[in-house]
Amino acid sequence: MLFPAGMLHAHGFAVLIIDLRDEGSSTVDTGRFAGGVGEARDVLGAWDWLREVQGIPAERIGLFGVSLGAGAVLIAAGEEPRVAAVWEDSGYADLTQVLRHQVRSYMIPSFFADLALAYGRMHGHEIAFPSPGGEVRRFGRRPLAIVHGERDGSVPVEQAYMLIAVDQAAGGRPTIWLVPDVGHTGAMGSYPAEYESRLAAFFSAALGSASA
C-alpha cells in the first residue's frame, strides 16, 4: 500500500491509509480475514471520517484497494453509492471461486473450500457474501479501474474478467489494465512508472485534479 500511496502523494493527492481489522495495528477481532465483507465497513468508516470530520466532499473521495483490500473497496463502493471512484488491483469477483482455486493448488479437492466456507458460516462468519462481483452491479457509471496480472496464481485473472463483464453489463466503462507477465499484485512493482501514471490519471479524471 505504501508504494501506490506514495505515487498518489507525489501527484498531490491526500492519502489516508487504514489498517483493516485484524491487520497491522488495528484491533485483532477474530484473527481471520472477513473476505472483504467485514473490511468494507472499515473502509466506509474511514470514508465517513473523511467526509464528516475532515469535511471532504464525497465526490472528491475515491477508494483504492489491492487483493483483499480490493474486495473490500468494491463491496464498500457497492454499499455506498456516493463513493466517487474505485481502483482495484488483483481483486476478486467471487471469493468462493478463489478459495476453490487456492485449495486446488494445494492438491486438495475443491469441495473442501465449500465445506470450509460452510463451517465458517455455521460459526457466524459469512465471508463470501455479499460478493464484490455482485456489488459491482450497483456501480452504474461510476469510474472503476480494474488491474490484474495475467499470471496471478492466487486470484486468477478470470476474476478480473468477471468484474469487467459485470461492470459493463451494468452500464459501466471500466478502465482495464491486464498485465500479461506479472503475478498477484505484481503490476505496481514490475511497472511502477506506468502504474503511477495510470493511477494518477485515473483519479485525476474521476475526482478532479489533485490541486483543485
Binding site: 505504501l2 508504494f3 500511496a5 506514495g6 505515487m7 502523494h9 507525489a10 491526500a14 492519502v15 489516508l16 491509509i17 487504514i18 489498517d19 483493516l20 481489522r21 485484524d22 491487520e23 497491522g24 495495528s25 488495528s26 484491533t27 485483532v28 477481532d29 484473527g31 481471520r32 480475514f33 473476505g35 465497513r41 472499515d42 466506509l44 468508516g45 474511514a46 465517513d48 471520517w49 464528516e52 470530520v53 487483493s67 483483499l68 454499499e79 478459495l99 487456492q102 485449495v103 486438495i108 473442501f112 473450500a113 465445506l115 470450509a116 466456507l117 463451517y119 465458517g120 462468519h125 465471508i127 511502477p192
Partner: protein, 190 residues
C-alpha cells in the same frame, strides 16, 4: 474318487463276507455311477432326515455365516465412514483456519509499526510522505449508544458504527478495544 470307492468296497466287503471275500454289492455301490454313492449321502427326497439332520442344517448355517459376514463388513464400513467423516471434519476446520487466518499479509508481522509506515523503506524511489498523522477510529460494532459499557458514540446508519476521532482532539473517547463488540481502526494520513 476311484480310491475312495475302492476303500468303501473293501471295508464293506470285510464286514459283510464270511471268508474275507467281498460281498456282492449293487453295481452302483461297487463302481458304476459314482453319483449313486454320493446320492446315498444326500438327504432323502422323501423327507427322511434322522441321522442326516445335521447335514440338513448346512445351508442355513452357510446363510447365517454369510449374514454375519455381511454384518461384520457393514459395521467395518460404518466405522471407516465415521473415521472418514471425522477426519474430513478436522481437515475442513484446519483448512478454514489456513484459508482465513490473518498472518500472510500484515497481521502480526507489522503490528505496531503503523506510525512508521511513511518512512518505511519500501522502494528505492523517495515515496515518502513527511506530512503524516495517526488517527484512531474508535469503533463500536453492533452496540447501541445506550448500551452500558458500550463505546461512546455510534453512527446512526446501521451498516457501520464508527466513532471517528479527530487526531488532535483532546476529548477522544477512551480505547474500547478491550470491550466486547468494540475495536480500534488505525490509520495514517498524509
Amino acid at each position: 474318487m476311484a480310491f475312495s470307492r475302492g476303500a468303501i468296497v473293501r471295508r464293506r466287503g470285510l464286514q459283510g463276507g464270511s471268508l474275507g471275500r467281498p460281498t456282492r454289492r449293487p453295481a452302483a455301490a461297487v463302481g458304476g455311477d459314482p453319483s449313486a454313492v454320493v446320492g446315498n449321502r444326500r438327504p432323502a427326497a422323501s423327507g427322511r432326515t434322522g441321522a442326516l439332520a445335521s447335514e440338513d442344517d448346512r445351508p442355513e448355517s452357510a446363510a447365517m455365516r454369510r449374514r454375519n459376514r455381511r454384518l461384520f463388513l457393514l459395521g467395518l464400513a460404518a466405522i471407516e465412514l465415521g473415521f472418514l467423516v471425522g477426519a474430513g471434519a478436522i481437515f475442513t476446520v484446519g483448512l478454514y483456519d489456513r484459508l482465513t487466518k490473518v498472518e500472510a499479509d500484515c497481521g502480526g508481522r507489522y503490528h505496531g509499526q503503523t506510525p512508521a509506515l511513511f518512512s518505511a523503506p519500501v522502494a528505492a524511489e523517495p515515496y515518502l510522505m513527511p506530512a503524516s498523522g495517526k488517527c484512531d477510529f474508535r469503533a463500536a460494532i453492533g452496540r447501541s449508544p445506550s448500551t452500558p459499557g458500550g463505546c461512546p458514540v455510534q453512527r446512526p446508519t446501521p451498516r457501520r458504527w464508527f466513532w471517528p476521532t479527530d487526531c488532535t482532539s483532546a476529548n477522544a473517547p477512551p480505547p474500547c478495544s478491550s470491550r466486547p463488540g468494540c475495536f480500534t481502526l488505525t490509520g495514517s494520513q498524509s
